[in-house]
């Protein structure tokens, strides 16, 4: 059998003028491929949920456009609902955020178990647009709604022995299917030093884009500490405990060589398995340099004067 036969019909032959434009098609295809990896490739879902009464707004992300609602609500690390990024959006419907009680206890003069709806009336709600830097080297710009954690701390009057604040997520494998597997030690626990907790930037968030916080983002109430890696932002909080000793934190317990207590964003200290020098803002193609303290150094660096910066990781 001949290896080659000239049996191609003329109709199958690419016209020469199209053939000469082949590079344009390739370029168009490449541009389309890259374009589709950028925002705006298709219409994204907009904010939904019950609107919150927001008393004031402040932009703490230098005018950067907030990450789309859809991205913030479908790309989550919330292992209580599964370890894939889209698991929380799929599985968090089983979380019941009413009734919800937050227990405030430990070294405080006014320990109490407060209902979430009562707690929401303690302080006027503010919107604050913060950068959020995940330890996995991606980041977002998020319009949170909430109130300063410091306001709550002052209201419950910590004793002189209170040196740290420890937070705990709900433990209920029925509502949080991810807790049926021991991926992490449940419940999730986090903590702050007292001066960090009362820093004006630290907040408790109850909303997003002016709406009630979606379950997958940590409803009904979560911590936001914008100069620290995202995992410090403990979600679906049921317990706030004031303590004398540095509390244990979930990821440090899991891998003490990879995660520290402070977990301040620091481009100079790499995670053992990846660089922290740059980050990818969700929706952008090129990585951008990571800023010390996630760009909030002018306000928070003094908290760590005299501490070994490597410990701050």
């Amino acid at each position: 059998m001949p290896r080659w036969r000239d049996d191609l019909p003329e109709s199958e032959v690419t016209p020469e003028r199209l053939y000469l434009r082949r590079r344009e098609f390739l370029a168009l295809g490449a541009a389309g491929a890259v374009g589709s990896l950028l925002p705006g490739a298709r219409a994204l879902a907009g904010p939904e949920g019950e609107p919150l009464a927001v008393a004031s707004r402040s932009d703490r992300a230098d005018g950067e456009k907030p990450t789309p609602w859809e991205s913030i609500t479908t790309y989550n690390n919330f292992y209580e609902f599964g370890t894939d990024k889209d698991d929380p959006a799929r599985n968090a419907g089983s979380l019941r955020t009413r009734p919800w009680t937050v227990s405030i206890e430990g070294e405080v003069k006014k320990p109490q178990a407060v209902d979430i709806d009562a707690l929401l009336k303690w302080f006027p709600l503010e919107e604050r647009i913060y950068r959020m830097r995940c330890v996995e080297a991606w980041s977002m710009v998020i319009p949170w709604v909430g109130f300063p954690l410091g306001e709550l701390v002052r209201r419950v009057e910590p004793t002189s022995r209170a040196k740290y604040v420890a937070f705990q997520t709900l433990l209920d494998p029925k509502q949080m299917p991810g807790q049926r597997r021991a991926v992490l030690e449940w419940p999730y626990v986090e903590g702050l030093r007292m001066d960090e907790a009362v820093h004006p930037l630290a907040m408790l968030a109850v909303g997003l884009y002016g709406r009630v916080l979606p379950n997958q983002d940590g409803a009904p109430i979560r911590l936001v500490v914008p100069w620290k890696y995202g995992f410090k932002g403990v979600k679906s909080i049921v317990r706030i405990r004031f303590v004398e000793q540095e509390p244990q934190t979930t990821w440090r317990r899991m891998a003490p060589n990879e995660y520290g207590f402070y977990a301040n964003v620091n481009p100079a200290v790499d995670h053992p398995r990846w660089s922290q020098a740059k980050e990818r803002r969700i929706g952008e193609f090129l990585r951008r340099p990571t800023l010390p303290f996630n760009g909030y150094g002018a306000e928070v660096a003094h908290l760590y004067a005299g501490l070994d910066p490597r410990k701050l990781y």
């Binding site: 389309g32 991205s71 790309y75 370890t83 991926v183 398995r273 990818r280 929706g283």
Partner: protein, 238 residues
């Protein structure tokens, strides 16, 4: 390929088109025809199916189906399919030795080449899309991050296998030497599993599944040798 089959009973180890056991009798010719057709369709079908993950990736990339972080999602998917094809390429040999199935052998080379193609695309994605050719950063990654080093070595291990995947290469090298070289596929699969296991933060379930599959497939390869050894031992004692 069948240097061991001389010692084993005549199972269905025949070359293309040879009558399989049970194809005699009145229904023989018809079943033979069906079988021939199925064998002819096997390769194009396997090729088409093996392309599907790439097609899905491309279509998802254009329709926003890769989610909020499409760059990470694309890289993860390509890595997943590399490991899947590496694992699948280890199936045909034990499938023949233990189950007497000979048809998977016909697509073994294709599975291996797809593993290489997905691995190369995974790496190209890392270079050009994830890191956008930030060469100093990439060099540092490969040197400093254990899981990236291991993944890179796995890719390098696959290169000589892809290069010598032709019939010509087998003839030129001689079957024994070729076969010895291609045992590197075991190393590539193991390194791939380690690469994945060292990458995950906490949830090791998926790497563990690959580890179990690859481990099982490697152990299964020992079965014929074990059988011969047992046979010899029994032969000596009786």
């Amino acid at each position: 390929m069948n240097e061991i089959s001389t010692a084993s009973p005549p199972r269905d180890a025949g070359p293309a088109g040879s009558a399989a056991p049970g194809t005699t009798g009145a229904a023989g010719p018809r079943r033979f025809a069906v079988r021939t057709f199925a064998l002819r369709a096997l390769k194009p079908l396997a090729f088409a199916v093996s392309c599907l993950p790439l097609v899905k990736l491309a279509s998802d990339a254009f329709t926003g189906g890769l989610g909020a972080n499409p760059i990470a999602e694309g890289m993860n998917r390509l890595g997943f399919w590399t490991l899947t094809f590496l694992t699948l390429s280890l199936v045909p040999t034990p499938a023949k030795d233990l189950l007497g199935l000979s048809w998977p052998i016909r697509i073994r080379r294709m599975l291996g080449l797809f593993a290489f193609a997905y691995a190369a695309t995974h790496f190209a994605w890392y270079l050009g899309v994830d890191k956008f050719f930030d060469l100093p950063e990439i060099a540092k990654d490969i040197a400093k991050r254990k899981f990236i080093t291991v993944g890179f070595v796995a890719l390098l291990v696959l290169v000589p296998l892809a290069v010598t995947s032709t019939d010509r290469a087998v003839r030129r090298m001689g079957f024994r030497r070729w076969k010895r070289l291609h045992r590197l596929a075991y190393a590539a699969a193991l390194l791939g599993v380690v690469h994945f296991a060292w990458r995950v933060k906490a949830d090791a379930r998926k790497p563990a599944i690959f580890a179990a599959a690859v481990g099982l497939l490697l152990v299964a390869r020992l079965a014929p040798a074990a059988r011969r050894a047992i046979g010899r031992a029994l032969g000596r004692t009786t």
